[in-house]
């Protein structure tokens, strides 16, 4: 027996999965280390569920091998496997007339006698499982009355009652509201950290997966497109390829997905810095503006957001004052923009030139929308004040933008709707 497999709870060697005459994934080589949180990511229909169902032995592998704790999966008896591995599936189960406690207690199956009677140890394990998922208060509620989130917690508790070393979950957060989504993920992470249970879950949220997982497997186009630590694997490009993003980007630094706009309404030049622009960029992208921005330091939050949104960025290295080269480049960018937005950034020695940039804009007669609320605050003085609009906050900025760049009235294209009929 291969000794190197000992620290691995589950390994796949050249595994092919799928249904009778249709291979869905092939050539999978994976090794799950004990106590790790492993996420399977990939677009719908890529084969995440098929892979999970094969690992849990609901499906026969089409080729290759699966070893659990160094033993071939197919050689384990149902009972042996049940003591090692538990599953949470997407099937809707609603056994009638069961309390949550009784439901969770069904998970004691591999540990109880031939009639399934619960001993005091079984009871405490069940209680413990309920505590682990913060569901003690649900214990005597009828299972059928639970909400989706509560039900998911009960399902995880049932799996825990099996006292498994490996927990497989298919889309554990699907259909859940935000509160329960966060709660379930936190519970799963705690199971890894404090109980040493290996969790393998197929997930939809890349951002959550990146933050929780120890390893991620990217599943696409009939195979494993990447496998490793999320910090290395989940780059913006890898995620964009995985999900065929055209107008969105995953930013691994921010851990979030930015949605790009179509840029049809006009081109805005944003003068920002020190986080003042992040929200403005998102708002502009959402409202269909193309964005150019500058001059940003490359360690600025604004830079990460702007880049993910596909903005034209003029940049300066961190800790350096904005130099003439950057100023020229920014001025050129600004030239082709329809509107200039001042995000109201704080001014210091390193970004003083951004104020200069605004002055240039006004001299050239560009309309400047500023988020500052008083003219005193505008530290620049120019002869062409008419082009400056003080917006004060994002709401007013939006109104000013809408006045200048009217939204296409799509209702004109809709068929006539008459009330007379």
């Amino acid at each position: 027996m291969n000794r190197t497999h000992q620290s691995h709870i589950l390994t796949c060697g050249n595994l092919s999965v799928g249904y009778k005459d249709k291979t869905i994934l092939a050539g999978l080589n994976l090794a799950f280390e004990a106590g790790h949180f492993i996420s399977l990511l990939g677009p719908n229909g890529a084969g995440k569920t098929t892979l999970l169902r094969t690992l849990s032995r609901h499906l026969e592998p089409l080729g290759g091998r699966i070893d659990v704790l160094g033993r071939s999966l197919s050689s384990l008896s149902a009972m042996e496997l049940a003591k090692i591995m538990a599953v949470v599936l997407t099937d809707k189960v609603s056994p009638p007339l069961f309390t949550v406690f009784e439901f969770v207690a069904l998970g004691r199956y591999p540990h109880t006698d031939f009639l399934g009677r619960l001993g005091s140890e079984d009871r405490s394990v069940v209680q413990n499982a309920l505590t682990a998922v913060h569901a003690e208060d649900l214990a005597y509620r009828p299972f059928a009355d639970l909400s989706d989130g509560e039900r998911q917690k009960a399902l995880v508790a049932r799996a825990l009652a099996q006292q498994p070393r490996l927990l497989l979950l298919d889309e554990p957060t699907i259909h859940l509201d935000l509160k329960h989504r966060v709660e379930v993920m936190a519970i799963l992470r705690d199971l890894c950290r404090s109980r040493g249970i290996t969790v393998v879950a197929s997930l939809h949220d890349v951002d959550v997966a990146a933050k929780v997982s120890d390893r991620v497997a990217l599943v696409k186009d009939g195979g494993l497109s990447d496998w490793g630590v999320p910090e290395a694997v989940l780059t913006g490009r890898a995620v964009a390829e995985l999900y065929d993003f055209n107008d969105a980007e995953f930013n691994s630094h921010l851990g979030s997905i930015e949605l790009r706009g179509d840029g049809r309404r006009g081109r805005a030049f944003v003068v920002a810095g020190m986080g003042s622009g992040a929200l403005v960029y998102r708002m502009l992208a959402k409202r269909g503006f193309a964005i150019a921005t500058g001059v940003l330091h490359t360690n600025d939050l604004d830079y990460y957001v702007a880049r993910s949104l596909g903005a034209e960025c003029t940049v300066q290295a961190p800790m350096e004052a904005i130099n003439d080269m950057a100023m020229t480049a920014a001025a050129e960018q600004m030239e082709v923009c329809n509107v200039v937005i001042d995000c109201g950034f704080a001014v210091g020695p390193m970004n003083r030139n951004n104020v200069e940039l605004l002055r240039v804009a006004m001299q050239k007669g560009k309309s400047v929308l500023s988020l500052r609320s008083s003219e005193l605050e505008v530290l620049y003085h120019t002869g062409a004040k008419t082009s400056l609009v003080l917006c004060g906050d994002v709401v007013h900025l939006l109104e000013a933008l809408d006045r200048r760049f009217p939204v296409n009235d799509f209702t004109q294209n809709l068929p006539e709707y008459s009330l007379e009929a």
Binding site: H58, S77, V87, D91, E102, G116, A144
Partner: protein, 349 residues
């Protein structure tokens, strides 16, 4: 049961109280009905006379014959029939996770019927006059098991319970088609006997048959009780059951074999008795307030015994001396109960 009772730390002792009370009540009522079934009939005897006959079973009087050869076997048959059909239905409902399943939906009764129709409507068995009293029984048994074997054979190939259910339904239609063709071709005189058999009845059970039913059925019931743990796991569906350590392939063949054995045994002697297998498991679930098969298996036995005893009593006595078809009475009982339960959505599987 109030919420306060639920939250008691020793929830176990509380949850056992209700089943025990229901068990006692059902046992008592079933006993009362058995006594009534023996005591009441188209010929009147006083209770003392019956008591005497039962105690001193030696005489060769008509009364002795009526009590010992007709009423007692019939009362016992009703009890066994109800119990076996109810447990059979319970198993199938858990297995298919479908509340409208009973032994009859899977084609078991249609299989029995088609074989019996061969015996009763055609001249295939003309040469075997010696066997004729047993022929219907043997044929029904063969038919029930024939269909069951096909269903089990399909079960080992098909994964989905719903597909299997549809296979069972289609088998039922096929058997029904053959039966109706045979009926169309049969001689008039033969049809009446066949139609009567099809109505189902617990009359005419012999002691030898009852002994076989008791021994074989008892063994099957014991086996089923031992399966109550995997049956409970099965309430979560096949995939969860498998992940908890149930050997699915072996288990599902066992379940189907047991369900068919129980239903086949009764059908072969009593003819098709409708609705008991379908409705009683629901009544038991509601009565005992649980889905735990460790309670429901004996529970459905008692509930089934009670229901068929009552239905048989009504069938015999309502328009006495004319005996009403048993299946009509069970349907009058069963159909509204099933509809009511489903409308209330308390019992969904």
């Amino acid at each position: 049961m109030t919420t306060a009772e639920y939250i008691l730390p020793r929830a176990d002792s509380v949850s056992w109280r209700r089943p025990l009370v229901v068990f006692a009540l059902l046992g008592f009522l079933t006993t009362v009905l058995m006594v009534l079934n023996i005591g009441v009939g188209s010929v009147y005897f006083s209770p003392e006379e019956i008591w005497k006959t039962i105690m001193q079973h030696q005489s060769v009087s008509t009364m002795d014959a009526i009590v010992w050869k007709i009423r007692i076997p019939r009362a016992i048959a009703a009890v066994l029939g109800g119990a076996y059909l109810a447990v059979s239905g319970l198993l199938l409902q858990v297995y298919f996770r479908n509340p409208i399943v009973g032994p009859f939906i899977l084609g078991i009764s249609s299989g029995a019927t088609v074989m019996v129709s061969f015996v009763m409507l055609t001249t295939l068995t003309v040469g075997m006059t010696v066997l004729s009293p047993f022929m219907t029984t043997v044929a029904a048994f063969a038919g029930a098991y024939g269909v069951m074997l096909i269903v089990v054979a399909v079960a080992s190939r098909v994964k989905s319970g719903v597909t299997l259910l549809i296979v069972g339904l289609m088998m039922g239609y096929l058997c029904g088609a053959v039966t109706s063709i045979l009926t169309a071709l049969a001689e008039k005189e033969k049809i009446k006997g066949f139609v009567l058999w099809q109505l189902g009845s617990f009359s005419g059970f012999k002691w030898s048959e009852i002994a076989v039913l008791l021994v074989c059925g008892g063994l099957v019931l014991a086996l089923i009780y031992l399966l109550s743990k995997p049956l409970n796991a099965f309430l979560l569906g096949e995939e969860y059951a498998a992940s908890m350590g149930v050997n699915i392939r072996r288990f599902r063949i066992l379940i189907l074999l047991c369900a068919c054995a129980l239903a086949g045994m009764i059908t072969s002697v009593a003819g098709p008795v409708a609705f008991v297998g379908l409705a009683v498991p629901h009544m038991a679930r509601l009565g005992f307030g649980t889905s735990d098969n460790r309670i429901l298996i004996p529970g459905a036995c008692l509930m089934g015994a009670l229901v068929t005893s009552l239905c048989d009593l009504i069938a015999r006595m309502l328009l006495s001396p004319v005996e009403l078809p048993l299946s009509a009475i069970t349907a009058f009982f069963g159909a509204p109960i099933v509809i009511g339960l489903l409308m209330k959505r308390r019992v969904k599987l």
